[in-house]
């Protein structure tokens, strides 16, 4: 259960259902007892009336006068039946209502005893009350067993109707309650959903921070989150500025040292110049790598590739004005890089610069976004040229992790090592191969995009 509202709905609806279940059982039980009692009363009253009305008949039976009989006992299949059995001569009287109904009223009873049994009459269930009675009359000692039977069908029908109604009402009520609860939850949890949406927007770079106006319980979280976001952004940019300044302030003294060595033409120049080269390569590589942000910061807007490429292209055309080359950009519309603008500029700048350096005439960059890839490899950038290409040993060397700047492939310099590092920091991939169409080197990047 990963949803708060579902969790709440389930934990509330289970006790609710339990409560309604118990309520229904109690009510059902009560209703049944009530109907039982009323049936009992019916049987008792009929019994009393029958006993009072029973008179000896010429044929030795005891039977009530037809006029004294309740209407239901006179009507066949009325659902109320009676029988009087005399112990002496086994004479049996049965009410007219039981005509054609083979009801088994049970054995004659000893005087004073009383019995209740359930039985069936065809398809209907009946309840039978029997009493054994002994008394003296003109003929002497008489033992009679009076039985009254009532059909349960109307009661059962009533009971089921009651149950249906009860169930209908209760389930309706429960649905209404749950719906009300769901609505309430929606309303109560709406700030949480809003927070979720806003965080998502920040992640996608569509907004910079969470908005205001959260309820008291959440406003602390929102404020802290904003502080964290802004703090992180500031920290990273301060960090990068510091590293940039460090690189800058180290390079100028190096330039001065080199200039000094060049002007006095001393022997030490031969020793120191390569060292200066090495130091500047280290600064170039390590500080730049540290300054690369290596990942999308929260709240950072995605970068439009086309714009950066246009700028880079015009810059490179200026730098390579002495070379007759063409830089072809094939960028699918709406291609965006999710990450730092500076990092992307650095990546593309290095790759295009490398292409311009080695190409004969054509450098081609193709960029597209393929939604079927994982987010961090969604953006595809391919840079190809028609130059001599890169030998397979060099490809392997460039692809190796942790190749230091000063060990990087000569001629391709630290630019490509830098590209490799940055791509790795973003969790993307760099594949070096041969261009099928142009014949030179082919660098295929996969980077986070959308």
């Amino acid at each position: 259960m990963h949803s708060l509202s579902r969790r709440l709905l389930v934990t509330v609806s289970v006790p609710l259902a339990l409560f309604f279940g118990v309520m229904m059982a109690v009510l059902d039980n009560g209703f049944r007892e009530l109907t039982d009692r009323s049936l009992q009363q019916l049987l008792d009253s009929q019994m009393v009336a029958l006993i009072a009305a029973a008179e000896p008949q010429p044929d030795g039976k005891y039977a009530p006068e037809s006029n004294d009989l309740a209407a239901r006992l006179r009507t066949p299949r009325s659902g109320l039946y009676a029988q009087i059995v005399s112990a002496r001569n086994k004479a049996v009287w049965r009410s007219p209502s039981s005509a054609g109904a083979p009801i088994d009223f049970g054995r004659p009873l000893a005087p004073g005893s009383r019995d209740f049994v359930y039985s069936t009459n065809g398809h209907e269930r009946i309840e039978i009350e029997s009493r054994g009675i002994e008394f003296e009359d003109r003929t002497g000692h008489v033992q009679l067993t009076f039985s009254v039977a009532a059909s349960l069908t109307p009661y059962e029908q009533q009971l089921w109707a009651f149950r249906r109604q009860l169930f209908g009402w209760f389930s309706g009520l429960m649905l209404v309650l749950l719906a009300a609860l769901a609505g309430l939850l929606r309303w109560v949890l709406s700030p949480v959903r809003r927070m979720e949406r806003e965080i998502h927007e920040v992640e996608e770079g569509r907004s910079e921070a969470l908005g205001a106006g959260y309820p008291r319980e959440l406003s602390g979280v929102a404020t802290n989150l904003n502080t964290l976001l802004i703090g992180e952004r500031n920290r990273v940019s301060r960090y990068r500025d510091t590293l940039g300044n460090l690189a800058h302030s180290l390079k100028t003294p190096l330039a001065v040292m080199r200039a000094a060595l060049a002007s006095n033409n001393s022997v030490s120049g031969a020793v120191l110049n390569p060292e200066i080269d090495r130091m500047s390569a280290i600064i170039e590589h390590q500080l730049k790598r540290a300054a690369a942000s290596g990942g999308a910061l929260l709240g950072q807007a995605p970068v439009d590739i086309g714009e950066i490429l246009t700028e880079l292209r015009s810059a490179l055309l200026k730098v390579y004005a002495g070379k007759d080359l063409s830089i072809e950009l094939v960028v699918a519309p709406g291609c965006q890089f999710v990450g730092d603008r500076g990092d992307l500029t650095e990546l593309l700048g290095n790759l295009l610069d490398n292409g311009c350096k080695w190409c004969r005439v054509v450098v081609r960059l193709t960029a597209s976004v393929d939604g079927s890839f994982a987010t961090r490899e969604r953006l595809s950038i391919v840079v190809e040229d028609d130059g001599p290409g890169i030998s397979s040993e060099d490809r392997i060397r460039i692809g190796q992790r942790g190749v230091r700047a000063d060990e990087a492939v000569p001629g391709h310099g630290i630019g490509l090592a830098m590209v490799q590092d940055t791509v790795e920091m973003y969790g993307g991939t760099l594949t070096i191969g041969e261009s099928a169409t142009l014949g030179g080197a082919r660098f295929a990047l996969r980077l986070p995009g959308r």
Binding site: T252, V256, A259, V319
Partner: protein, 228 residues
Amino acid sequence: MRVLVIEDEIALRDSLKEQLAAAGFTVDVASDGEEGLFAALEFPLDVAIVDLGLPKVSGLEVIRQVRAQRKSYPILILTARDRWQDKVEGLQAGADDYVAKPFHFEEVLARVQALLRRAGGWASPELVCGAVALDTRAQTVKVNGAPVELTTFEYRILEHLMLRAGEVISKTELTERLYDEESERDSNVIEVLVGRLRRKLDPQDTVKPIETLRGRGYRFALARSPTT
């Protein structure tokens, strides 16, 4: 060729000045953005070398203003900040090329010469007009394949005329390219130098490579040969 170096680091500036001068340039220097901007707008320059991290007015701003004033001479950026974002920014502001610090002077010189050639419409470092061939890297001149010895000033004048072969170049312009702002000038020197150049390039006075246009200046008259 007259070059302006705007660089705040004294040692670097001095070294650049010394080496550029040794390479045959007339060098002006400025140590901050303000001074540099003034020089960049007022002096008749052929090329400027601008450090991006300058006090008072940033290098980028200097470049922008120079371009806003419709000065079209090439500008080379010197920068310690060599992320592509910085390079793109500099090039978009109007610079033509960049060199990252710490640099080898040879690199700077090569870039500057390439910029000058490109500004004059030359693609290769060897300028060839008819029989006269001038190699800007080696600073040598050959006529019909035979080397001709020139003095520094003679070479500078010839290079300037040849880079802009076909255009009329005034005597003042040539003077300004021989002397930085601190030197004393003498416009008669140009006439003397051009005269010597003519004799060295064309002893028989048959080809007449340098025309004199009275009151306007000089023109290198031989047509540019298509480069291979």
